[in-house]
Subunit: 230 residues, 2 copies
């Protein structure tokens, strides 16, 4: 049976979408083999069959699922006998809270911290689209965002406090072993790690040590990704 | 068997500690009857037996437990047959993340929004201690904090975004029914509701509707608390 994860691809085959990384981790957690199919920013015809324009899209036999959260729920329900991503209804509901934290609180700050570096990792034919769409979104030239990068990164580190509180008591956000809430944050940090040499995390941060553990999972799935810094 | 929750008490018997409310909700969730024992700010001799100076302290027969998170874990383990607060190990680990979010992200902003109003609800003999300790903590006269209260409250509402993301898909943070993560945030908001007439939440906010549901729980346990605004 064909199982394909359509995911964003930059230059030199970098796969830096935080949302696609959530799905990569979730598939690995379930022990499912998958073929990764790259999609460029301006190559959305490849996923037109799914009825929309955003990755990740998972094709699993006869099923097509899009949106990283929907993919995680699909995998949990469809592969219920494999290791759990959520640990039950309350765990799933709380993971949606963590998902919202990563998407609405962390990502808006992080993307402005690294977006200027991303430009160099976008395929030449996508670069004009990328710059125009992002400059329209942020209301400034991308290079301008470098000016207060240190302050923005410091603010980002402060925003990680809830994760620090959890990791002070347990090795993973989900307790003794990683599960979907860990993959959410790991995906967000992988987005930076694969696009920017900027030292976002301080090495004595408990989050840094946790990220090392996340990079080791699944035979170094995230650690050995193309373009990784640090 | 004696079961007593020692909790903070202000003037006119207001019980506004967010941490004590978490324990109140958790006890009610487990269906446990409890006697509330009030402790004033400067009346810590009452809990000296527990070996420390902060409420909540739960005495449950021969067991003494302090710290709201430890109390929740104790109740979950000791009353395992009663309705679950966490829904398993992953749910408990994620609830600790929500706990850290409320304590480290929300509370520092919220306390500066309402602390000036709290002064009026502190027993006269505690007021000097309260003002001095809080002014030392914040580095300004309490009245100064009123000057940028609107901006601070707007910032607080932005910080609630992760909860909004979750509540857009489900009636409670813990899914179809409330559990401990809901009690964490409800406790934080109750702290404001019992001390300040300031309209912190906008009425068309999804969080406001969720709070109404929380206020209805357990025969209106939180709604009918002394001193409630709104």
């Amino acid at each position: 049976m064909a199982r394909i994860l359509y995911e964003l691809k930059g230059k030199d085959d970098r796969r830096f979408s935080p949302y696609c990384w959530r799905s990569r981790f979730a598939l690995a957690h379930k022990g499912l083999e998958v073929e990764y199919a790259p999609v460029r920013f301006c190559d959305k015809d490849k996923i037109a069959f799914s009825g929309q324009t955003l990755v990740p899209v998972l094709v699993d036999g006869d099923n097509t699922v899009f949106d990283s959260w929907a993919i995680a729920r699909y995998l949990e329900q469809h592969y219920a006998e494999a290791p759990t991503l959520f640990g039950g209804a309350i765990g799933e509901a709380e993971a949606l809270f963590v998902n919202g934290w990563a998407d609405r609180i962390l990502h808006p700050v992080l993307v402005k911290t690294v977006v200027t570096d991303i430009l160099a990792h976008v395929e030449p034919e996508d670069r004009r689209y990328f710059r125009d769409s992002r400059e329209k979104r942020f209301g400034v030239e991308l290079e301008t965002l470098l000016e207060d990068r240190d302050e923005r990164a410091a603010h980002f580190r402060e925003l990680l406090e809830p994760a620090r509180a959890a990791l002070a008591a347990q090795p993973f956000l989900c307790g003794d072993a990683p599960a979907y809430a860990d993959y959410i944050l790991a995906g967000t940090l992988q987005f930076c790690r694969l696009t920017s040499p900027y030292p976002l995390l301080e090495k004595d941060d408990i989050i840094y040590a946790w990220r090392e553990r996340m990079l080791d999972l699944f035979d170094g799935l995230a650690r050995r990704a193309v373009g990784a810094h640090d």
